[in-house]
Amino acid sequence: MITNPRAVDRIAIRDSLGYPAITLLASMIGFGSLVNESGLPLGMAIAGTLGIWGLPGQLTLVEMHAAGASAFFVILGVSLANARFLPMAVSFMPLMPSRRKGMASDFALVQMLSINSWAAGLKRFPEIALELRRRYYVVFGSICMSAGLIGTIIGYLGVEMMPREIALGLIFMNPLFFAILLAGVNNRPSLIALLIGAPLGLFFHIVLPDFDLLLTGIIGGSLAFWIAQRWPRPDNLP
């Protein structure tokens, strides 16, 4: 059991500076370049990265806005795209209890939660003393958010200096990154929902472009839910 704060800092830095920071840097470079190419301001890219802090929702914001959806549906779409934060927070927050009563700090800390910190916490927390887990989470999350912020700015500013082919490659990185990250989820019903959604999304985009993503989500998600109810194995991580 690790009880030394300095040791916790070192582990958090080492865990985050490798794969998670590079992944976030790369994916947010893609996001930043998309925001620029969609004709939107840098401030929106930065606010999107730090405020939403989830690639699916960030892409939904830019894409639905570019598609001309009304603000209400854009916000609803972004929100639904990030709905997985609910089960993630529910299962994760109790793993790093506060020393003080009340949960004011929890409401601030939960903003840093992402698939990276969630996975790192689940892996490392068992070996870290209960009162030092928040320290690990904050150090890890701060480095991840910094990497994401730097990537967003690099992508936004850099896309203008690139040859056209590479700039388009950076934009193309968005759906690819996103598909590969989601394909790595070890949960068969979620993958089924993803696969059902793909053709539905194209269909509704052609037939009812204003409501395409919402209809895709509700119909495809309900269909996947119906299938999962008939699936004997309960593997329910988000």
Partner: protein, 118 residues
């Protein structure tokens, strides 16, 4: 494309941030009091996955914005390359993304070369 109102975009972005934080905040409120594998949570998770599947397909097949100027064939081939590399080579995200994007850029260079030289 560049005619936007900063005020409108600020409100939109703020709304999107609140719409996302809604789930995080509810997660803190409900933490340890409910089972995160419950039916409602499961349904909500599937709704977002289906939506994201639809968004990915649309970004690749019927993109809006700059990718419209690229060909469907190149986008589909590069997408399939990236996902195949991911599934076949030990499920490593970064190499798969780099190879997929690399194949996209390579194909773009060759196709623009062909267009430039009739």
């Amino acid at each position: 494309m560049t005619t936007f109102s900063y005020f409108g975009l600020t409100l939109l972005t703020f709304g999107a941030i609140l719409g996302t934080y809604f789930w995080r905040g509810m997660g803190v409120l409900f933490a340890s009091r409910v089972n995160s594998a419950g039916a409602v949570f499961q349904w909500v998770t599937f709704v977002s996955y289906a939506m994201l599947g639809g968004l990915i397909a649309r970004m690749v097949v019927l993109p809006i914005g700059p990718l419209e100027e690229t060909s469907l064939l190149i986008r589909s081939l590069a997408f399939a390359t990236g996902v195949t590399v991911f599934l076949l080579l030990g499920r490593r995200v970064l190499p798969a993304v780099l190879i997929g994007v690399g194949s996209f850029i390579t194909m773009m260079f060759f196709s623009s070369f062909n267009v430039a030289a009739p």
